[in-house]
Amino acid sequence: MCLCLFPFFLLKIAEDIGSSLYPYIYTNLNNWPCVRLLNATNTIGCHAPKTGSGVLYHVKSQNQMDDFVAGQFGSSDTYGIVLGYNLLTRDNINALQSTGRVNGLIVLLREAMNQNDFQNLHSPEENCPNCQFGLYADDDDPYNWNPQGQNLLESEFEIPIFGINPVNKISTQIYNFVMKTVEYNEEKGYDNYPLQAVDFELFMWAAMNSETCLRRGWCEAIGGLSVYSTPSVDIQADDKKTIVMLTAGMDSRSLFHDLTNGAGHDVSGLVGILAAAEALSRVDTTNLPKHILYTAFSAESWGYAGSQRFVQDISQPFTCTNESRAVTCPYGSNAPCTNPCVRTLDFKRINFDQIDSIIELGSISMTTNGEYWAHVDDIKTSESLVASLQQQQNTINSNASIFSIHPAYEDNVQRKLPPGSSTMSFLKQKQNIPAVVITDFQKELGSLYNSDLDDTLKGLDLSSICQLATTTAKTTYLQAQGNTSVAEQITANCTLVESLMDCLVSNFSCSFMQNYFNVSGITRISHYSSIFSFRNPQPQLLPRFVFTFLADVTSRSSPTLSSCATIQDCNQGEYCIKKQCVQTFTNYHDAYGTGLKYDESSGKVLIIDSTKSTWTESTWNTPVFRTFLVTSKTQQAIELVVGVLWTVISIVTVFYGKRYFKKTFKIE
């Protein structure tokens, strides 16, 4: 009996040795990968089942890159290339992929790059991002907003690409470790084996397109929660008052979704409207002839998902069927309707036909000489709005800095609205709404558009943002007033602008944030909208903050004026903001592609319109990124040959030995 247990005993020892030796051989590292996303027709991003090993090699310049591609470096080995974001160009990636000697890329972001690497940057976006979902999809000759674009974000890569940005403790540790191993290889001259190598595992479950992966349950719809708010707490759809809208996008996009920041595009625009809302909260806006509506849309980078869904929901009639559902409605028994499941019916109180004008703030942080550009779709429709903005800009005579708003068409080229404008979703429904989109660029999107390097506050023009917020607030007020010449003293709070930018870009646990949330230990947050959960939709940190902030500035005190610790302490329909119970018209609204539909009776997400946004994100196995020592290919080949020879010789020896012994000693 002991003998038959022996193999199991051996197996157990082997397993133990295997798992206990693992940490002595491999060092697993935290990682921030590029992942696979899908739309109606294809997949983008990175997918790689286990790769082979590649010796770590740091490419520091374009010359070095060219040498490597030409084969002038390295033996017949495979390499894992470490490179700065400035070298991550379309040509370089194609060249590296075609050499067949690269098993993956490790990209160093802002805090790991050299100063002189920032000179020749290009936006990773396409020439006209999201244009097939925008207002000008059917135009014959659309304007090329991003001629320098590398077109990386909508590409599919064969090799895994991981990013590193040493901005906090963990990422700095990983970065230092990677640099140490790279230097180890450099010192050994890349031919004195054993060298440090790396291998990757980035296995994505979904494939082909959104419809396939949704059917198989291997991907989730990309989306988030938009926020809309108005100081007119008693707004109704039929109160015959028109609406002035102030809007911005809330999310950003880049190659590495965990590290997406988007300080310029689109955090600055969001901060602009939050500051304008705060400025307007200090005057009475509830008795004006028009309503003011603040909106911040999520998932705008994904085919204008947030704004399109909002427009769709407020302009179509809402029918509550209360049919049976596959999964219980996540909003509980208090939900106003269980099929379709909605958290609130307040969006029905916003009448799309009453929208009178729209002002949108896009990327507004990188001005040259404090110049802003007002983009319009149709000059005739919107020029009065532009004129009003310019008029209000003139009233700000600041000696400290220059600040001006110009019509983007002042050089007589009508480029129409730039990509990324949520306004397009509204104009698609009704094109004669006067609307202006203000940005810091006139002709081109800029080299940091949707780039992983758009994450710094250095060189940003915060005082101009403040002045723009003031101008926008004043213009909005005058629009809502019906343009009588009464000018109130409305100014945005410039310290607020600085705090907001700091909190939302670099440190979410800043002291300003402690007014709203008890948060600590979170510095950078990702501004990627992430996936939309139909079973348990929870707002991410940014929409949660925007909701709380807007609820605060548009609130009126509860008649009972009670202080509170949580929302449970307040009456039904009230919120606990800054420890006070308040009444406010501020809500979340679902944001996910309008080409997708959630079928409540089956609990599945279906594609209903492939011409609209159908973005989904694949489910994946935990990505692995580990380093270990390897010997040269020659040595491995020699080991193999020696082993085979040894085996053959042993077999032959045993065979002839047995025959010899049988003959000599007459043993069977």
Binding site: H47, F203, M204, A206, A207, M208, R215, R216, W218
Partner: protein, 98 residues
């Protein structure tokens, strides 16, 4: 194999016949065994013609199965993903990532 020499022609035909009809139940390997087991004996001049018939029919059936299976395999492996939902319904374990 020695036992085969001592069997009567009727017994041999009976065995081959049983294996042939058995193989009709989607058992091509039974046909192959039929062929391999009795081919030598069926080539002897003393073998009954019925034996030859069953042995050769079994082989033909086995080859036909092989062709059908290989063709189906080739078509399925290459076209499964383009068949959409129908392809998934006839698959037991759907591979991830492709």
């Amino acid at each position: 194999m020695a036992k085969l020499d001592r069997m009567s022609p009727d017994e041999l035909v009976s065995i081959s016949k049983k294996m042939f009809y058995g193989g009709l139940a989607f058992l091509p390997f039974l046909w192959l065994i039929n062929f391999m087991y009795l081919f030598r004996t069926s080539r002897k001049p003393s073998a009954p013609p019925a034996l030859k018939k069953y042995v050769y029919l079994s082989m033909a059936g086995c080859v036909a199965w092989f062709i059908v299976m290989t063709t189906w395999y080739a078509v399925y492996v290459n076209k499964r993903t383009s068949w959409g939902a129908a392809g998934d319904q006839i698959t037991v374990v759907i591979p991830k990532g492709v």
